[in-house]
Point group: C2
Chain length 226, copies 2
């Protein structure tokens, strides 16, 4: 409409009953940039679904493309097969967690963990369009090692057919995080117990080349940072 002001996309996910925690609501965030950053830093999620009335939680790779998450696997794997058979899709909960530090307090009660997590509720849908599937497979490889998809042999028709991909839109999303240091009770501060933060070390060790690389194949630049 003429004269309508330009609007920027909302910077936060709308809350729902299941994205507002019953406790420590101060640790919750719905900020899209923060959610994206947590999602993009990881590549293994825990995917929950319901089978015969009982919960199932499986670790699996994921990638984010805009406001969508994608998970892939064999067409024979349970959640992917269930998604393909479900109409209009499979209710899932996809959770990504980074542990950043151990918090050792003077009191056992105030021991804690610094972490950042994202919980996504929604309905997963089967991705059947071959072009979207190809895009997702590249995204999954690049999500783990940026730049890698272009430096590998793409999936052929048979491999593509053996791979199922499911999509989960980022609508009902929350992040939760603990940061900072020790929070002991004032009356515990004089206790003779060491207290502090033990940060987790993260990263990769030196890549180990497969036997029988084609002659002249060097470690690529995108792995040099590892």
């Amino acid at each position: 409409m003429q004269g309508t002001p330009q609007t920027t996309p909302p910077a936060a996910y709308a809350t729902t009953d299941r994205t507002v925690p019953t406790r420590s609501p101060d640790r919750a965030s719905y900020d899209k940039d923060l959610v994206h950053a947590i999602l993009d830093e990881g590549y293994v999620c825990h995917l929950g679904f319901v089978r015969d009335g009982a919960p199932v939680v499986l670790p699996t790779l994921y990638a984010r493309v805009g406001e969508r998450l994608y998970v892939h696997g064999s067409t024979g794997s349970r959640p992917l097969r269930m998604t393909g058979q479900a109409d209009p899709g499979l209710p899932v909960c996809l959770t990504v967690t980074h542990v950043d530090a151990l918090i050792l307090a003077r009191s056992a009660f105030h021991h804690s963990i610094n972490y950042r997590s994202v919980v996504v509720h929604g309905v997963a849908h089967d991705v059947t369009d071959p072009e979207e599937k190809r895009m997702v497979l590249d995204a999954l490889v690049d999500h783990v090692v940026p730049g890698r998809a272009a430096d590998s042999r793409p999936a052929n028709r048979k491999e593509l057919a053996a791979t199922a991909v499911i999509r989960l839109d980022l609508n009902e999303v929350s992040a939760k995080l603990r940061t900072g240091g020790v929070n002991d009770e004032p009356e515990d501060l004089a206790l003779p117990h060491w207290a502090g933060v033990v940060p987790l070390r993260k990263g990769y060790d030196t890549p180990v080349a497969d036997a029988g690389l084609a002659p002249g194949t060097e470690l690529p630049d995108y792995l040099a940072m590892f």
Copy 2:
């Protein structure tokens, strides 16, 4: 009965329909020692349960004591409150995953991750006995930092009352793991793409002491390994 031969406890968990994967069954294991080792190496699990018919997956700390897993949290947290209200307990799935290495194959299709995971299906029960709760709280602290529970102020009555503990028996359990190197197709071996294993680095950085430690409080020996 007289003359009955001594039997050692079974070394493996019995399989069930939901602990046998639909694919890569060669990656599954039911060996108790392996399951225990994977569980004892981690301290953050992903706990799945069903709320209003939909799955929920939350990260939380856990500890193993023999053939039982324990999870704790505020009495106000959702899964713990739901367990306390459920009769005869809350169906859950508790999953622990370690990522060990990235597997970069010449083909995008054979990219993978070396990992070790344990999936436990069962019914969580509220722990109400104060002595068992105290034992669990010590175990949770010691599970993250062995030796720490004895070097911290134990929970007082108020803290104990504010903490809920749930128990999950290790009956329906499976491990799943991928180890080893790159598995490319024979016809891809001559491709000019680097391939190999990128191991993840794990560990801790130097502990950072809280401000205001009691005078003379040194870094304890059990943290020196960090």
